[in-house]
Symmetry: C2
Subunit: 221 residues, 2 copies
Amino acid sequence: MSAVPPPTRPAGRMRDAARTQAEILDVATQEFARQGYDGARVDEIAARTRTTKRMIYYYFGGKEQLFTAVLERAYAEIRRQEQEADVEHLEPLAAIRRLAELTFDHHEAHPDFIRLVSIENIHDASHMAASPTLSKLNTPAIDVIGRILEAGRAEGVFTAEIDAVDLHMMISSFCFFRVANRHTFGSLFGRDLVAGGTREHYRRMLGDMVIAYLTAPPASH
Amino acid sequence: MSAVPPPTRPAGRMRDAARTQAEILDVATQEFARQGYDGARVDEIAARTRTTKRMIYYYFGGKEQLFTAVLERAYAEIRRQEQEADVEHLEPLAAIRRLAELTFDHHEAHPDFIRLVSIENIHDASHMAASPTLSKLNTPAIDVIGRILEAGRAEGVFTAEIDAVDLHMMISSFCFFRVANRHTFGSLFGRDLVAGGTREHYRRMLGDMVIAYLTAPPASH
DNA sequence: CACGTAATGTACGAACTGGTACGTTAGTAA
DNA sequence: TTACTAACGTACCAGTTCGTACATTACGTG
């Protein structure tokens, strides 16, 4: 019978500022996403870390700044993935559908991020407003959409008069709602929007919706 | 110089259970919507009431049950308004557009309700799940959409194969996102989705989107 | 190998927060 | 009028929660 082994640290340096900070951010992201800003506990975040609460204040200053740091890292990751998206070599119709699908997949793959955004909206985006990093965040996705829209209109396949930001909003709202509101929606209508087999169904619905809007005969507007 | 007058009660009975409960629910709705569940303070709710904290526990039992009661009343009000909607005398196309507009207007008019739903989703709809009132809530809007869809297909104007719940989701997602995410969206893209002059713009966009989807030529699906 | 500093751990406190024990009063029915 | 109960108020507590003072140690540098 061996005693419970003491919690082993990952090999390497015992003191590693970068790793400690990253670990705190990882745990804090989970904790904030699951419990909300006020629901999350600094002690709980610390306990789930290899280090102590002292380090949270040492590196981040406080709960508020920790949450801001969590948001900043989450958005940075989004932007990174957005820049990887390569759809501009496609025909405008295919490009838009592909972009919508990438947005769709991204929302489904990052429910914690969706929750953080919901939480930040409950707080009137006060952390974002106070963060130079976040308020000056440029979003490459908008430029991509803008160029596709331009190409599509030049070719005559897009009839709708909509700009890039609004189209991005249309796509995001569908993807965001499906993930963010799945609990109340499921409870009210008995339908799990994120259930296994439904993914392709909603993915196609989104693409069809966006394409239908962009290509609708002008009469119906 | 007269002293500050003691807080005068509204005329009538001094002790009125129904009025006290309603007042607590009013304040609690505001407080929960603005601060979130964990951010809201029972003491603060009580302080903003004509009565004391003791009454909250007397009538509702605790913070958790108070939040559930707030949710129940908010959803009851929604259902009441849904039942007033009278669109089935219209042509299918006009009926759907009108229904979408009513949903749109309702979301814009009740931002507190939107926030409560966001908050409840952060908590995985646990209060709804525990409330018999809320989990057995039937939603007349779905039946209305179902009948309009049927009529529209019978007339041949609707080509899309979509059921009532999914169409409701499509409409709700647009309306919900616009209100719920206006803060982060505004911060990121510098566009206020709920600004004064933009209402008609987004209202039309929603209607066009839904109609375009429902009437799109089958080839594009 | 000494030494300075960044990095870390321990212990603790002040304020807050949900909840309750206990006492009081307005309204009502007989 | 009297007596009873629903409705209400005050004071308080126990546990929690963010934050910090102080001590300590690993690690790079010369």
